[in-house]
Amino acid sequence: MSGPSSYVPKLGIAKWLDARLPLPRLMYDSFIAYPVPRNLNYFWTFGGILMLMLVSQILTGVILAMHYTPHATLAFTSVEGIMRDVEYGWLMRYMHANGASMFFIAVYIHIFRGLYYGSYKAPREVLWILGVIIFLLMMATAFMGYVLPWGQMSFWGATVITNLFSAFPIVGETIVTFLWGGYSVDNPTLTRFFSLHFLLPFMIFGVVILHVWALHVTGQNNPTGVEVKAVAKDTIPFTPYATIKDAFALVLFFAFFAYFLFFIPNYLGHADNYIPANPAVTPAHIVPEWYFLPFYAILRAVPDKLGGVLLMFAAIAVLVVLPWLDTSKVKSMSYRPLARQCFWAFAVTCVMLGWLGSRPAEGIYVTLSQLFTALYFAYFLIALPLLGLFETPKKLPGSIAESVLGKMKGGSGAVVGAAASAEPNTKG
């Protein structure tokens, strides 16, 4: 999959360029000839969808930045000016705001896909960690972007989240003051958030290139978790097979996006952010955007300020060490009956944490938050390390080709009948 390519462009000018800068070769190897496992299902289309969402966010963002004024007294009005006076400004802004949500929907599906099929395991640990870095950068970008309209939720979200850092002993107060550029969230905070919100997507883009690079070195995981054994039998070329499938999934995803964008553009937002920021009045319930809710619930589960902050960061940090926590050699949960149940319990846990993050931090909600926070960490720190030692996995198919072509033809000519016990994982 890696190594020197034997590809030689056919076109004269491409040949000329290839001899000087092997860009045509790189493109051909990465997006045309790149071998993908033939049994990928539609959950594998979300990588491409995410790439397009990043491009969409950058394009709409650049347009919005042309019309936006990063100043505490003008930000709200300038955003409304975009909505009212700029031709198709409403489209750009709703596309950007809902696009952020769509980006996170896609990234969560992408992450859970990786969790279910064990895509974080050797040899894909670096690929996985790069993904976690992208996720972190996305969270920072989304948070700072949400501050820019300078509505009530913008202002108070910024206040609450920047105050997290004050939990750290000794340096905490200094960090917060330096984040703010003043003694409270104010104009200097807004302008630096704008600057960073513009910068970070390009850093994401850079890490995405590393992510794709790492992917193309190890090759894709697949629903069986069995590595490619014979390229000719187990894989198909990226173009046209994966490209057309990705395109189909992408258009369906964009239809879903368009539904929110055009018909319920404010559904995922919060009404309070249409009230201009007011440092004298805090909204009754401060809630972050939906994609932060599970982490927000973990933050509030702990009565101790520093403890809550550390636990929230740990909730993401634990993903980094996940490749070494999961002791099972079998990647795909399709062959791990117990782990699969734990996985679904974990998925429900995340949804419950999301719901709890939207509730006020009082009474039963706090207790429930603590319970589900414990379950969240139990999945990584107890279930996955132990299951690998005790669980008896189902029999794996001999090869990818065998899992697709089944026992009748025994595509690889290997162990006939082995696939009978396997899950019927055909291509989506």
């Binding site: 042309m66 198709y88 400004g89 390229v231 894989t235």
Partner: protein
């Protein structure tokens, strides 16, 4: 890797039609998507509304002097011309002008004493001097652009220097003897 291809002879027409339709629809979609992105670059509604016609009172302008004002972000000169300046502008031999245009085509009939022109040099956009008293008016007693030495006459026509054309006349109309509406 698998070199998987069906025999090209089998039903090429239907397949080609399908591929063609899909490709065409995709291309149309991308083009349609590009339209709103480009349209956001147009002047917005507030800019357009702010560019509505403006009214200018001429009474404070003494004879022989001029004022400068902005309309749609462009500088406009309004000058009250003296009799001598009008005559000077009218008697020029048009054939000798780099951009021949009669003075009568640049003012409103019966209001020859009022000259209303855009105030940015047609060479590279500098602002010629000569509106206010004391500013250098150039060899032809009109306006002089200090950037590259373009001389305009009392009708705002280019006479000497690198500017290719006369200072253009904006759309305007007299509402009364002492009031004009620009735009």
């Amino acid at each position: 890797m698998a070199e998987a291809k069906s025999s090209p002879a089998s039903e090429p027409t239907r397949r080609d039609m399908l591929f063609l339709a899909t490709g065409a629809m995709g291309a149309a979609g991308v083009v349609a998507l590009a339209v709103p992105f480009v349209r956001t670059l147009a002047p917005n509604a507030q800019t357009i509304a702010a560019g509505a016609p403006i009214e200018v009172d001429l009474t404070p302008i003494p004879e022989g002097q001029g004022i400068k004002l902005f309309w749609r972000g462009k500088l406009i000169f309004v000058r009250s011309r003296t009799k001598a300046e009008i005559e000077e502008a009218q008697k020029v031999n048009l054939a000798s002008l780099p951009d021949p245009q009669a003075d009568s085509a640049r003012v409103k009939p019966g209001k020859e004493n009022w000259l209303v022109i855009y105030g940015s040099c047609t060479h590279l956009g500098c602002i010629p001097g000569g509106s206010a008293a004391g500013e250098v008016r150039g060899d032809y007693n009109g306006w002089f652009c200090p950037c590259h030495g373009s001389h305009y006459d009392t009708s705002g026509r280019i006479r000497k220097g690198p500017a290719p054309t006369n200072l253009p006349v904006p759309p305007y109309a007299f509402l009364s003897d002492t009031k004009i509406r620009i735009g």
